[in-house]
């Protein structure tokens, strides 16, 4: 019987795995295409429909909270005259962090020739795209009158005004806009050859035409591949500095102020590391359900998860050191406001959240010193979620602690989020999941042509 009719799991049973455990030892190109494309052409399962339905409820929630915000104004939030940055800014930083990580992961793995990249880069990039788009919504809402947001852009106008180029908030506008555009280009370029595969595999006229239009007429000629590779690798090389600069700008939103605990030169690189950490945690959190729901166990293997767990461990160690160094630096540089803020972080009203954050970001990943936990789906999923929670806490605590405990004791205040803060945050989750589920059904979740190339190099296909 020919191997072409077997599934990836049966091939592993028959032939075992390649030496580095990334794929079955025998895996013809046709099987690779079928494995990844099958999830798209299969009839939607009931589970998928339920998930899309539930997440759509989140989208409705998001819509309602935006509507109420636009009608009532930012007064519905918990922000006050001192703590002017609340959930909206924290959510923005958290989402853009996740959004940055996908591109960073994809580019770094490509540039360092990590063989396990092909299986995870596609949905890591999709994660990037959706997270960045959602992140972009929050600053717009945060400004209170989103319909005037275009005032940030430089254009000749009757008021003869120009943007305040010395403000990091203007840098931020450019950074997000450029980043979303860049991620679309990077993601879409990698997708073109796979869209051509789907065009050629599609049975129905409508799907064929739809995929065909987006495939732009790709035929896989040597000339096209040459241009493609030249561009794709150049984009990966550009992606790393771009992502670093984008998240540095986010760090500068804080660091370019004069608030205690914010005016730190480490903030730009530190935000980049935090983004990488939370993004990897999100990739792990998404990978586990994806490989199960789409049946991609032969393409996303335990070795992939193991490698990601090690990176989470590294991130956890770096974050722990960063926190402790932050305390030392606050003490060393010696401003009264800085020292008082550090005490406030530990023992103030938000102290319990701070301890929780330390446990989530610093302690939880330490489990991955043990191989058993690195290869266990349940511990991986739990730690992934914990790190996401911890990183979100970090973002909100950076806002709340500093703003509630600034330079002037008479302005010390207290911030409590309202129900609308929470609903909007939940709603943004709904939107993210909704987009992600749609993506998983319409677009190959792994890069088919790169897996073919990998299979050729690994000797699984000839």
């Amino acid at each position: 019987m020919s191997d072409a009719t077997l599934t990836g799991r049966e091939l592993i049973a028959n032939h075992g795995r390649t030496r580095d455990g990334l794929m079955p030892a025998e895996m013809p190109y046709g099987t690779i295409t079928d494995e990844v494309a099958a999830a798209i052409f299969r009839k939607p399962s009931r589970l998928w429909l339920v998930l899309v339905g539930v997440s759509f409820l989140g989208v409705i929630l998001f819509g309602i909270s935006i509507l109420v915000l636009l009608v009532e104004g930012t007064g519905i939030w918990g922000v006050n005259s001192e703590v002017v940055w609340g959930f909206a800014v924290a959510n923005y930083v958290w989402w853009i962090g996740i959004g940055n990580a996908g591109t960073l992961i994809s580019c770094m793995l490509l540039l360092t020739r990590q063989r396990w990249r092909a299986s995870i880069n596609r949905y890591a990039e999709a994660m990037t795209l959706f997270a960045a788009a959602i992140a972009g919504i929050f600053p717009l809402l945060h400004v209170g009158r989103p319909w005037l947001a275009y005032w940030l852009a430089p254009y000749p106008n009757t008021m003869t005004l120009w943007p305040q180029w010395r403000s990091p908030l203007v840098w931020d506008m450019f950074a997000i806009a450029c980043y979303i555009l860049f991620s679309i280009l990077f993601w879409y370029t990698g997708l073109i050859p796979d869209l051509a595969t789907l065009r050629d595999k599609a049975k129905h006229r409508f799907t064929k035409v739809a995929y065909g239009i987006f495939a732009l007429g790709w035929n896989g000629s040597s000339r096209q591949w040459k241009n493609y590779n030249s561009y794709y690798y150049a984009m990966a090389a550009l992606g790393v500095p771009l992502v670093v600069s984008i998240h540095s700008v986010v760090g500068l939103d804080y660091a370019a102020t004069l608030m205690p605990g914010w005016q730190e030169t480490i903030f730009p690189p530190y935000f980049v590391v935090g983004a990488m950490f939370s993004g990897f945690a999100m990739v792990v959190t998404l990978t586990i359900p994806i490989r199960w729901a789409l049946g991609l166990q032969s393409i996303i293997t335990l070795d992939h998860l193991d490698a990601m767990a090690k990176i989470l461990l590294l991130g956890g160690i770096i974050m722990s050191f960063s926190y402790s160094f932050e305390w030392f630096a606050g003490w060393y540089s010696g401003g009264e406001a800085e020292r008082s803020l550090i005490a406030f972080q530990f023992f103030g009203p938000y102290g319990w959240l701070y301890w929780m954050m330390l446990a989530c970001n610093g302690l939880a990943p330490q489990l991955f010193w043990w191989r058993r936990f690195r290869r266990g789906l349940v511990p991986l999923f739990i730690v992934g979620v914990l790190v996401n929670v911890g990183m979100w806490l970090e973002r909100i605590l950076i806002n709340m602690n500093t703003l509630a405990h600034g330079h002037l004791p008479s302005t010390f205040s207290f911030y409590v989020p309202t129900i609308w803060d929470w609903l909007m945050f939940l709603g943004s989750f709904g939107l993210f999941c909704f987009l992600f589920f749609l993506f998983a059904k319409v677009i190959p979740a792994a890069s088919i042509h790169e897996i073919r190339e990998l299979a050729h190099k690994e000797g699984a296909a000839r």
């Binding site: 790393v240 500068l252 030169t265 932050e326 060393y332 010696g334």
Partner: protein
Amino acid sequence: MSLAGRFLRHVRAQPPQSQRLFAILALAAVILVILAAEAMAEAYLAAFVLAISAGMGASVLLHAHRLTGGFWGEAARPTLEGLAATVPFVSIAGLALIVLQFAIYPWIGEGALSERPAVASLYLNPLGFGIRLVFILALWSAMAVSAAGLAFVNRIASGLFLALYAFTVNFAAIDWIMSLEPHWASTTFGALFAITQIAIALALLLWVDAGGEARPRDDLAKLTLASILGVVYMTFMQFLVQWSGNLPEKVEYYLLRGSVLWQGVLILSLGAAALAFVILSRTALRQSRSATRFAGLVTLVAALLFLWWEMAPTFDNALGVVFSLIALAAAAMAMIAAAKGGGRSRSRSSDESRRSTAARATGGAP
């Protein structure tokens, strides 16, 4: 092979004229110490910082390679090990700072840190400086010995060493360099020091052509490119944040370096870095031995000038400024010699390593 044997081999590997030069320099140094003690102490600090940076940069690369693998590390290993093996010796030399600190650092003495009495009594004092120096150098020596493959060779140790390095490098940077200006602070300074160390080691690898063949050379060139970007990025971010903040005690750092001389030095350093960047970002040039060697040299010059720019403006005697530049250059040459010595031992052991690689390839599971 024992550590001492390795060192002796490195010394013997040098040509006789450079050994003679070394002796003359040592004699001149003794005379100068008597005549200009403070300037010599400052020059000593500068040389120490550069020398330990090269060795520690190499150690970090070796440990990182042990964790992640890659062609570049296999090819460059002898050179990297040669550089890492210098760390214990440089560390022993560094212990002299316990005494020399009294001639160098402005925070020594009653009332020098009167606005931060707690920091003066608990951290920035001669005893604390000495204890931390000994601790950091001992740890770094152990890390380098492990990196050079002489002891504690396993992946867990590499992970732990890298983590401990990431922690201790902050304190090394504060103690040795940042505390030259005790009223100034920058939280990114430790990370900047770490990436500078890596850049110095990579520049040395390119200059002695440790890659040897096109593919590892390409990899090393790309790593150097990334490290140059890292140093420039961190330096710029530090500047941008403090420029935006415009607080007196922070911008003092840049005002001190605002003179024509120091602006010129920084521009020169950035120009060199930009030149190396342009060369290394061209795919065709990355393959060429002479182009990458030149880029390595230019990167090394950029790093050297950058370290000088960080330290020397705080030296209040002109002699110390001049001597520290000479000392940096001398230390850089010593490190080039160490890198070359490491590379030369490769040609001797290449048969052996080829055999072991072949054994690993056929041996099945790692």
